[in-house]
Amino acid sequence: MFTSIFGAFESGIIYAIMALGVYLSFRILDFPDLTVDGSFVTGAAVAAIMIVNGSNPFAATLTALVAGFIAGSLTGLIHTVGKVNALLSGILMMIALYSINLRIMGKSNVPLLNTDTAMTSVRGFFEKTGIDGFMNGLLTAVGLGDSLPQTWGILLFMLIVTFAIKFLTDAFLKTEVGLAIRATGDNKRMIRSFSSNTNLMIILGLGLSNAMVAFSGALIAQQGGFADVGMGIGMIIIGLASVIIGEALFGTKSIARTTLAVIGGSIIYRIVVTLALRVEFLEPGDMKLITAVIVILALTAPKMIESYREKKRKVKRQLDNLQMVVVSSEGRGKAGAALKSDS
């Protein structure tokens, strides 16, 4: 149990980078960008192929980031210069990337077993520090010793990387360019009247968003030990689920708060899926269905709760009014009460 939650936490923190990318396109730019399904795999494919061919895994991961940026910018170009509907340009790019990803990998699955990936080097580095032994000793001491995670290194390393990206994103969105990108998602007419090229802002924003997505894909491939052409299916929905769950649970008071919420949402999403898959009846193949149900719930539940509360308030107000009428009329005798209750 502990190991599976631990695993969920670990992948949640890696997928959080993808979710931050989705937050950037979906919330900041107000652009429903479906490129994500393709660019996630592009990142994984580029990193995997480079690693298999003997490149440094960190260099490979950064190259994946650049590849994602290019993919996102192309979606932006199709939408702005080509004046194609936002959803459609994302779908077109997603489909195009499917073939491109196959070309990059040369086959539909590239295994990364017995190769040096970023994850194995982090792990190797950590084994020398002895933190693993200490943490596991601690867990055994509190009685969770029956199933111990193999390494704490990846979790800590990914926490550092993800939070670095979060803080960079926060800072970027407060720069002059960042403000212009936010205004582009908020009010295009306004920002054009303040000398900002909205087309360029959309292209840049989508590029950055997909760079994060591809980066996350490259890391997931190295964590899981393979890149697969189908690993991106439904990725946009997973990203959206993380954003929506995070926002609902942790609030959206400021940008920094929201990006933190998105990371939290990503981790919680992974934990929910892991727990759901432990139910006897459900199979791993049901994961996409579970995801869809979670997103539907996260989208509808807050509204339903709100309208339920509103109804309750109304009923309560009516009751209060009625009581007041009864109380005041009792003081004035029966005739008044009859009159009031008629009205």
Partner: protein, 264 residues
């Protein structure tokens, strides 16, 4: 300084819906001129604004700003030199961003946007100072989201954002029309104050004849895509609404079409 020469613009050319929106418009605004534009609906006032700001390109003719030909320069590039306030109070600000962030966006209008922080300590002080000139207490709400402000407050903020970088020309497109009378008066007074303060060259479209007479040093009347009346500084001081209506009837031989113009 703004110079428009022989501007033509036709909508839906070659179809039964063809409409001449601008028909040979020639207009020059010298530095510091404040010109009010009146005319009935469909007279071409908004098209005129759009052609100047670059939202639309003219079919023919030339737009010059500060001696530079900007006819074919894109809207966003041109807006370095043009301040605009729209009729819709929601249009001129970014609602999910704070007051100071909105001001920072406006502040970067005539500069190259970089990766430097948008709101610095120094700028915040400056923003406070300019916000004080609105007398709305907004200087104490720098971190409030603009979406939380009332229509009047948003329009005042839009006006400030459009002007405090001292653009070469200020375009006001019925910027008080969507407000209630008391807010409209507030914005009108602020407009007068701000335009005087920065000595801005201004073109203001309005449906309110009284406002057109109260503000500015020149007045033009448009109809069917043409400028049918130009009133200079001396004449404008003596002009009344009656005069304007009479003048319109004399030129066009019809009663002025717009009910809104008569009501105001």
């Amino acid at each position: 300084m703004l110079r428009l020469s022989q501007i033509h613009r036709i909508f839906n050319e070659g179809t039964p819906d063809e409409k001449t929106a601008l028909d040979n418009i020639n207009l020059t605004l010298n530095k510091g001129d404040f010109v009010t534009v009146i005319g009935s609906n469909g007279a071409g006032k908004s098209t005129l604004m759009n052609v100047i700001s670059g939202v639309m390109l003219p079919d023919h003719g030339r737009v010059e700003l500060d001696g530079k030909d900007v006819t074919n320069i894109s809207e966003y590039n041109r807006s370095k030199m043009i301040g605009r306030v729209f009729q819709d109070p929601m249009a001129g600000t970014a609602p999910s961003m704070t007051i100071e962030e909105n001001l920072a966006i406006a502040f970067s209008r005539n500069k190259r946007r970089t990766l430097a922080r948008g709101v610095t300590k120094k700028r915040r002080d400056f923003f406070k100072e300019v916000l004080e000139s609105l007398h709305l207490g907004l200087e104490n709400r720098l971190n409030a989201k603009v979406g939380m402000l009332s229509g009047g407050e948003r329009q005042a903020l839009s006006l400030l954002m459009a002007t405090f970088t001292e653009p070469s020309i200020l375009l006001l497109d019925e910027h008080t029309a969507a407000l209630d009378p008391s807010r409209a008066e507030l914005i009108t007074n602020l407009t007068k104050e701000i335009v005087d303060k920065y000595n801005l060259t201004t073109l203001m479209v309005t449906h309110n004849m009284q406002q057109a007479l109260d503000l500015g040093n020149r007045l033009i009347m448009m109809d069917n895509g043409q400028i049918i009346l130009e009133v200079d500084e001396d004449q404008k001081a003596k002009l009344t609404i009656e005069d304007l209506l009479k003048e319109f009837q004399r030129i066009r031989g019809t009663k002025m079409a717009s009910d809104r113009a008569l009501l105001s």
